[in-house]
């Protein structure tokens, strides 16, 4: 008699494969394409195995496949450090194990891997849609686990495990909510290096012609802002993000000054004021607002001028912008106070700053330099020079998303020949002109404007990206000058679409973006609804840790860890205790029966050591009799024990495991006499 070979029930296999596909799709956006191919091969192979059409991979083939996967990973990622290579490694292990399921425990391993890999995806994407998908995936994996245990006798067909899995998920919901609300976010014990997402759109720390026009093609979300008071007028919404001061003839990049991030040039929230803080003159009432920013993998944050951070982990830099203490790997919420009325360094620039903000490469744009020095001599006042340049822009220039490509002397060509450009052309050429005329100037990059959501917050998208200029004037300090506002005032007062709506390039990279269809009433309504849902998700679910800190502080007096731990253990422990009582009380009898079996099995072990193993399916009485035939001296005791066991177990006498245990213990059996 061989024991029946374990066979995966078709329900189990079906759901295992469905869950497998779902998990692979979940990670598809950051897995190399060959893994997707390998996953399909593994699925087909597994199905053919079930149909007994193909043979399971031999040891040699398995080793080969493993080698191939590892080689693929090395070629793809090079270094194993980082989240993406690790996930890819796990996924390849997962799909190889799928081919290697021989026993139930192998199937368990596959199921647990699936659980883990599913949860990992939350590190990549925590949006509401993805979270729902993850929950769906978990249900499928759970269904697979249940399917592994189904038999033909269960009935209810293929869908039964899924229904059951959904029920289990629903039952887990209260506990999940409880943990979500009360469990303190303790912070990671280790950090996982994320792969830089190079393809991510967004403002970068350099600006060359064409960069911002690319952003105009994307409708992706950048950040959302909710104001404590009314939302300021559209033309005042300059979201300052980066200051670009160094020019190499083509590209504007950050000055060495602003690259020092952790030196004395950053005023972190909560730190004592740095010496340069007094250079800022803040006047009037501040605007208070809070921003939820999408992950950018960068450290810079956006705020209105002139900002002061009001959240942990946010700092103000020497060039008056905000940065985060860590790169933004997930959504982040921060609060800011901004003083629209301000003066920055009106008393004078430090000499080394003046050098930085007047720097120009020698060998570029001679025509512009020549014009600048000519005009410099013609006017007496800096402001007059500025208005002259702006008038020049106003006269001939065209604002477009499709500027012509520029050659070596990009500023010259733009100012004198093409005269067509996007914000980066205007801002870049303006700053160049100012510096050539001896006025300290810099490019500021960020976003301008944003869409007002009916629920009273502001949505800023990638196509709101903008660049403008700042110049420094004696007694006035740094002031903002936006040449784009002169050329295309609608861009600043309304939005990009009002200027370029007819241009085909607008939103070209987001062909299905709902923003594109905002002139269709109900679709626009739907878009705003989805937008609102996403915002609230970010604010209340992803940003819950900030709410929770305050809430726990109110509830428990302070939020030191040990108090929270104590409260949680107290509440959780007593709940578990109650649950335990409720579960155990009516089943005590049942439990003591199990104790009887345990004692009887102890007797079996004892007899087995003496050389009489119990056969499968052998009843206690037959067993005792068989042993007694070989060992007559034990017969009386064995009959007695068996009678006692039978009486308690089958005849319904009060179970008394202790007496049984005593009797069994008193049994002295010598090795085969």
């Amino acid at each position: 008699m061989t024991s029946p070979v374990w066979k995966i029930h078709r329900n189990g296999l079906f759901w295992l494969l469905v869950a497998f596909a779902a998990v692979i799709v979940l990670h598809a956006d950051h897995l190399p394409s060959w893994i997707l191919l390998a996953a399909s091969v593994a699925t087909i192979w597994r199905i053919q195995l079930y149909r007994s059409a193909w043979r399971p991979p031999s040891r040699l083939i398995k080793t080969g496949l493993l080698g191939l996967c590892l080689a693929g990973l090395v070629v793809e990622y090079g270094s194993p450090v980082g989240l993406e290579p690790m996930v890819a490694l796990l996924v390849s292990a997962y799909l190889l194990k799928l081919l290697e399921m021989h026993h139930r425990r192998d199937a368990y391993l596959v199921v647990f891997l699936a659980f883990f890999i599913t949860a990992l995806d939350a590190l990549f994407d925590q949006s509401i849609g993805n979270t729902l998908y993850i929950i769906g995936c978990l249900s499928l994996v759970l269904a697979a686990l249940l399917g592994l245990h189904s038999t033909d006798a269960d009935g209810g067909g293929q869908l039964r495990p899924l229904g059951k899995a959904m029920a289990i998920m629903a039952q887990a919901l209260p506990l999940m909510l409880l943990l979500f609300i009360f469990m303190p976010r303790l912070g990671a014990l280790w950090s996982v290096p994320m792969q830089q997402q190079s393809a991510k759109t967004g403002v970068t720390d350099t600006m060359s012609p064409g960069d911002f026009s690319r952003l105009g093609r994307s409708g992706e979300l950048a950040f959302r802002v909710s104001f404590e008071g009314a939302i300021p007028a559209q033309q005042n919404l300059y979201w300052r993000g980066l200051v670009l001061a160094e020019f190499d003839g083509r590209t504007w990049s950050r000055s060495p000054l602003s690259r020092f991030q952790d030196s004395g040039l950053v005023q972190w929230y909560g730190d004592p004021p740095k010496s340069w803080d007094q250079l800022i003159e803040r006047k009037g009432e501040p605007l208070a607002f809070s921003v939820v920013i999408e992950p950018t993998q960068q450290r810079w944050l956006y705020a209105l001028d002139t900002p002061k951070p009001d959240s942990e982990g946010v700092g103000l830099t020497r060039d008056y912008r905000l940065i985060s203490a860590y790169p933004l790997r997930s959504k982040k919420q921060y609060r800011v106070n901004s003083w629209p009325e301000h003066r920055l360094e009106p008393q004078g620039l430090p000499p080394q700053h003046r050098t930085v903000y007047l720097q120009l490469p020698e060998e570029f744009n001679p025509r512009t330099r020549e014009l600048a020095s000519r005009w410099r001599k013609m006017v007496s006042d800096d402001l007059e020079l500025v208005s002259r340049v702006l008038t020049l822009y106003n006269s001939e220039f065209v604002y477009t998303l499709q500027p012509p490509i520029l050659g070596k002397h990009s500023v010259d060509e733009f100012l004198f020949d093409s005269q067509r450009g996007f914000c980066e052309h205007f801002a870049g050429s303006f700053v160049f002109f100012m510096r050539a005329a001896g006025i300290p100037a810099r490019v500021v990059a960020g976003y301008q404007g944003g869409e007002r959501h009916p629920d009273d917050y502001l949505v800023v998208r990638q196509y709101d990206a903008h660049a403008w200029a700042e110049i420094w004037l004696e007694d006035r300090g740094w002031i903002r000058v936006d040449p784009t506002a002169v050329v295309a005032p609608q861009r600043i007062e309304q939005d990009l679409q009002s200027v370029l709506g007819s241009e085909t390039d607008f939103l070209a990279d987001s062909p299905v973006s709902l923003v594109r269809f905002r002139h269709i009433g109900w679709l626009n309504q739907l878009r705003l609804q989805i937008e609102s849902l996403n915002y609230n998700w970010a604010l209340w679910v992803l940003g819950y840790d900030q709410i929770q800190t305050a809430f726990l502080r109110n509830l428990l007096g302070d939020n030191s860890l040990w108090r929270i731990a104590l409260a949680l253990t107290g509440v959780g422990g007593s709940l578990l205790l109650l649950l335990g009582f409720w579960l155990l009380l009516p089943r005590r009898r049942e439990r003591s029966r199990d104790l009887l079996d345990r004692e009887f099995l102890r007797l079996c072990q004892k007899l087995e050591k003496a050389g009489f193993p119990r056969q499968v399916g052998e009843g206690p009485r037959d067993y005792a009799q068989r042993v007694a035939e070989s060992r007559p001296e034990l017969a009386r005791e064995l009959v007695e024990v068996t009678r006692m066991y039978e009486a308690m177990r089958y005849a319904g006498e009060t179970p008394d495991a202790r007496t049984l245990a005593r009797t069994i213990r008193s049994l002295r059996i010598n090795r085969s006499g």
Partner: protein, 305 residues
């Protein structure tokens, strides 16, 4: 109870030497209120056992020898025109008895075999549109030859299922055979058997069977046994719920005739081959295996815990 059963066994044992275990199973089947199928080669004492049982139980007894030309009416009865009274009168067939011995049941055609079906299942027969109740208790003890013998019609599965138990007698052991050969023909002693258990007492015992206690974990054990026959590829089909009920009922009766008011695993194991054997069919490699072999296979593969 034990003494009663022992007396029954000794009594029948005088005509069927050396088959105490089979006699005990047969009595179990009757106590459990089911019909009995005895299967073996000709001349093994099938009919003797049936006659002996009828004798000790003191039941009204009819015997039908099944042949290939037997018709349903020969069993159930027929209406005959009575000229003196000018009307049809029903002449009940041999089925109207408390114990019907259907000898060599598989020698007759399926049509006649199925005539017994309603009688066995419902305890009533319908003849010429009129339903007539059968006496109470009503037992059928059928004997049959192994199917490999020529001139047999295998019983359909539906009818096999009506039999609570199927037992085989087997060759006697040498000592019993010696006693048989050297003594008087035991069949001649049949007439000497006295009624030991009147029908009324039998009905009481049947009621007691229902009161025998079955512990929860024994039901689990039984379920595992049944499930095994449904899951394992060795079986062409598994045991039906009626089959499982039959095992339980017989285990209760078995416990009772051993003087216990509760069932132990050994009771289930003792009756399982006889109750499940004719309800199982092997598949694949085991297609030709006998039902008893398959049933024992189940017992040795499923543990009692």
């Amino acid at each position: 109870m034990r003494q009663v059963v022992d007396k029954l066994i000794t009594s029948i044992g005088r005509v069927l030497i050396g088959k105490d275990e089979q006699i005990r199973l047969a009595i179990t089947c009757l106590f459990a209120g089911g019909h009995l199928l005895i299967e073996d080669m000709p001349g093994m004492g099938k009919t003797t056992l049936a006659q002996g049982l009828a004798a000790v139980l003191g039941l009204s007894y009819n015997r039908v020898q099944f042949t290939s030309d037997l018709l349903p009416a020969d069993i159930l009865g027929i209406s005959v025109y009575d000229r003196t009274r000018g009307q049809f009168e029903f002449h009940p067939g041999p089925v109207f008895s408390q114990l019907l011995l259907a000898d060599e049941i598989n020698r007759t055609t399926p049509k006649t075999q199925s005539a017994l079906l309603e009688a066995m299942a419902e305890g009533q027969v319908t003849v010429e549109g009129e339903t007539r109740p059968l006496p109470h208790p009503f037992f059928v003890i059928a004997t049959q030859n192994p199917l490999t013998q020529s001139g047999t019609y295998p019983l359909p599965e539906s009818q096999l299922d009506r039999f609570l138990m199927r037992i085989e007698l087997g060759y006697p052991d040498p000592r019993s055979e010696r006693a048989l050969l050297s003594g008087v023909n035991p069949r001649s002693r049949l007439a000497e058997i006295k009624t030991l258990l009147p029908a009324k007492q039998l009905l009481q015992i049947q009621q007691h069977v229902a009161d025998v206690k079955v512990a929860e974990n024994l039901v689990d054990y039984l379920q595992r046994l049944v499930q095994f026959t449904r899951d394992d590829p060795v079986f062409y089909y598994g045991l039906s719920p009626r089959g499982a009920l039959a095992v339980l009922q017989c285990a209760r009766a078995w416990a009772l005739i051993h003087g216990r008011q509760y069932v132990i695993p050994e009771d289930i194991q003792a009756v399982f081959p006889s109750v499940a054997g004719h309800r199982l069919r092997g598949a694949g490699e085991c297609a030709n295996h006998d039902g008893d072999v398959l049933a024992n296979l189940v017992l040795s593969a499923v543990d009692i815990f």
